[in-house]
Each structure stands twice: as C-alpha cells, then as structure tokens.
Symmetry: C2
Subunit: 173 residues, 2 copies
C-alpha cells in the first residue's frame, strides 16, 4: 500500500482503450490510492472501444486539480475527444507546472500535445502518433516506459504492468 | 519480479469477464511469470463478454499441466463453457492433488465444482453462484479474497488488485 493518501485523476471519454483505463485504475487502488474517474459529464457511463463500461465520479468543472497528486490519460479514441476541452488542457498544464506526475499511454499523447507541454520532452506512444509527438517537439523513443521528470509514457496494453510499476515508484517518491 | 520462472495456465472461452482475464494475465507477467492462454482451439481469438479479445497460445490437449505452477479461471460466462471439458476438469484435479495454486474469481467457481474439488473448502464468488458452491459442499464467505490452502478465490472485478497481490504472494512462496 505504497500510495495511501494519494489522489489521482483518471480522465475518460467515449472509446477509451478498455485495459489502458482499467488496469491503471485497479492497480493504483490496490496500492491504496484514490482514483477518481473524471469526464465531460458526472455520473455518466462511458464505454471503452471494446465495450467495457466505467462510470464517472465527477465532471471536469467539479474538481480542482490542485487537490490531486497525479493525472492519467488512457489511450484509444478518448484522447481525440479529451484534447478539445479547455478544462482538460488546464489540468495537464497545472500538473506539469506543479511537477506532479502525468501518465500517458498509446494515443494519450495527443492530449499533452494540445496542452502545449510536449516540446523538448522524451516520450513514447503507439507508433500511430509518433509523428504528431515529434512535430510537437518531443524526442520519441521506442521503449516500454519512458520517464522524463514528471512525465511517464508507455506504448500499448502489453506495457501496462511496467508502466504502472514505474508510475507507482515515482508517485510513492 | 517475484515470479521469474513460474508458468501459469490462464483458461479462456467465449464471453470471459474481460478484466478478470486480462488484469491477472498482465499483472503476473509484470512479476516475471509466463502466462499461457489456453482454450478449446489453439491460435483462436476469443472475445470477452464486453468484447476485449485474447488469442490462445495452446489448446487444452497441447499442454501437460505438470509443466505449470498454477492455474487461473476467469469469470463471465466462460466458466459455464469450460466446465464441460474433461481436459479442463483433469487440469484442475491435477493442480489440486499436487497442491499447486488455483485461482478462481466471480463465476469461475463453476469449474472446480464440476471438477469435484470444492467439498469442504472455504471460498468466495459472485453472489450469483453462492448457492451452487454451498450445494457442492463449500463454506462460502463474503470477503474480497479467500485463501484455503492452494485455492484462492475472489468475488468480482473491484477485488482484482487484492486477488492478484494474494495470489502472487502465495505463488512466490
């Protein structure tokens, strides 16, 4: 229970990659963290791209990101939705400016691109968005987990166990 | 990496509970174990009840259960299929007689009922099959994880992190 007392934002929108939301949420809860599911609408059931459901605890405007210790963005198509919201981009910027942990996997990198926090950072992602990350100024690496200060990134579902071990170690401090 | 060198059978059939197969498979791989996905047909893609796919590494008759250290049965509707196969029931009996770890979650308890290894054991499960377990001679408990010697059981997806922590501890020895 290395994460007792830690509060984490898990962002969601339709067609998230099912395992990329649920593996981290369950794993971090198992380490004692509170993981709040945050989406456009409070109390709404969103479905993963394969169909696994998740219900939001809060909507974007309900929360104050300064109450949280870290933020996670899942992959799938959800990032293409999430990147359109000012509240989401502000959450990412707040986390980055405060040096709080940001976790991105697969297509999630689209959201920090739109938040303008990718320039000069080392990251990984699904191959599909490698060009978008490089064009935003990132140094892209093909590794299971890449850590650049407070930014932790992974490529795809088989990387999940290593992504979460690294994220937990960094968050536990 | 507490499970380096350990080999685990993860049984599958159609309509498995998506997270109850994938969370354990990823978690145990993250601890260094080899998790082989075993189903009726080799190289076949099975879909979870929500639609998350998984591809089998081997079919039942390809493997010798004595090569493995533990077996996992997922929930969902897959257990209602798996309990019909002699090979599956023999795997469970071999594991139990050898004192090797057996993990069951949610509806998975139907399989050890049909294998005839439930009488006198302490177990948990989804409420839906509580009566079946009691009628098979089990002592049913409403706890996140129940351990009876080599039999580890859990109720449902929110228990997954605690189920896997206990399973890993027991398997690491």
């Amino acid at each position: 229970m290395q994460l007792q007392g830690k509060k984490i934002i898990q962002l969601v929108h339709n067609d998230f990659e099912d395992l990329e939301l649920w593996y981290p949420a369950l794993y971090l809860r198992g380490e004692g963290a509170t993981v709040d599911i945050i989406g456009e609408k409070r109390g709404k059931v969103y479905e993963g791209k394969h169909g696994v459901p998740v219900k939001t605890d809060y909507e974007f405007s309900d929360i104050d990101p300064s109450d949280y210790d870290a933020i996670l963005v899942p992959g799938g198509w959800a990032p293409a939705k999430l990147r359109r919201f000012e509240e989401v981009k502000n959450m990412l910027r707040h986390m980055d400016e405060s040096g709080k942990l940001i976790g991105i996997i697969c297509h999630a990198g689209w959201v920090p691109i739109s938040a303008g926090i990718i320039n000069g950072r080392e990251v990984t992602s699904t191959h599909a968005i490698k060009d978008d990350l490089i064009n935003a100024g990132a140094q892209w690496k093909d590794e299971a987990v890449v850590v650049d200060n407070n930014l932790v990134s992974s490529r795809r579902p088989p990387d999940l166990p290593f992504y979460m071990k690294t994220f937990t170690e960094k968050l536990a401090g």
